[in-house]
């Protein structure tokens, strides 16, 4: 458990350090995610890595544990927003309508593209 948590933090630390060092336009933890994924995939290939947190589903179960209450983790930042609602009120209901309309349009555009492309690919594969 402590070993797994350390490994997760280590991935995040490496991600943050690289993102800040190279001024990359992405969050450090996202790079950390790719490091952890890479470690898990490398482990499957090389038995020598199968130890500590990379052994017996250890880091996997710690990771799943962290994700079971993902919603909880957004609350502190969300409460900050409740205190700055004056910024929204200042610009009236236009801001809320803008955000809501944009969310719906974005959801529809993304889902439609995803489905259209995967259907096209499936049809091409069926032809071959």
């Amino acid at each position: 458990m402590i070993g797994s948590l350390s490994l997760i933090l280590l991935c995040q630390l490496a991600g943050e350090a690289i993102v800040r060092g190279l001024n990359l336009p992405m969050p450090g933890p996202v790079l950390g995610l790719s490091f952890l994924l890479l470690l898990l995939l490398t482990r499957d290939r090389y038995a020598a890595l199968r130890r500590g947190p990379l052994h017996n589903d250890a880091v996997e179960s710690t990771g799943r544990g962290l994700l079971t209450h993902l919603s909880l983790l957004f609350i502190p930042a969300g409460v900050g927003v409740v205190q700055r609602l004056d910024l929204v009120v200042e610009h009236g209901v236009g801001i809320l309508l803008t955000l809501a309309a944009s969310v719906v349009v974005t959801l529809l555009a993304t889902v439609a593209t995803f489905l259209a492309v995967s259907r096209l690919l499936a049809r091409n594969q069926a032809k071959q």
Binding site: F74, V79, H91, L107
Partner: protein
Amino acid sequence: MNGNSFSLWVYLSQSPLLWLTVTLSVYAIADAVSLATHRHPLANPVLHSIWIIGGFLLITNTSYTTYFSGAQFVHFLLGPATVALAVPLYDNRKRVVAAIVPMLISLIAGSITAIVSVVLFARAFGLPQAVILSLAPKSVTAGVAMGISESLHGDASLTAVSVVLTGIMGAIIVTPLMNRIAVTDFRARGFAVGIAAHGIGTARAFQVDEVAGVFSGIAMGLNALVTSLLVPLAVTLLLH
């Protein structure tokens, strides 16, 4: 309140313990209600926890800084949890690899739609230019969005507010919207909510379906990257 209980309150209200306890307890109740309603979209635990805690802070005249001294322990876990998204991604790697082409194409389509639509709607509603700049990156995770907003001389706190509002709206709308248009492919549903509503959308996706959660997490990560490249470009093209 008599003298003794007042001094107890003064002591507790300044200690991280109280605010950490409040955060966890309110969430535990909101999550139980959400579960009891079979994860009804309107019973979103993030939404209800933040207004209840926000209201409580307002009533007790507590500053956000004091609240955050306790809540920071929860907030801190966002980073490690993002790294932990590697685990479900690893578990579902075959599915993900098989969908790489639809993902990349809908990433570009969704990312462009998110930025262009918010700029166009904001203009239609007559919002001032400075506000439009602050809203443009609203579909990505708060840290990245605030960075983009600052680089465009937008108002970073307005950006943070619009990011959270977008996330909550997306998390509430996605299930009824996808059911209405009869989309049953949870890869597509998850991917869409990750593009439109970042982490709060991803948390919702994991409540509904693990595959949806995985695809939402990927979409959120990729969109942070694409949006930071696209917003400055889009703003130059659309606003000048």
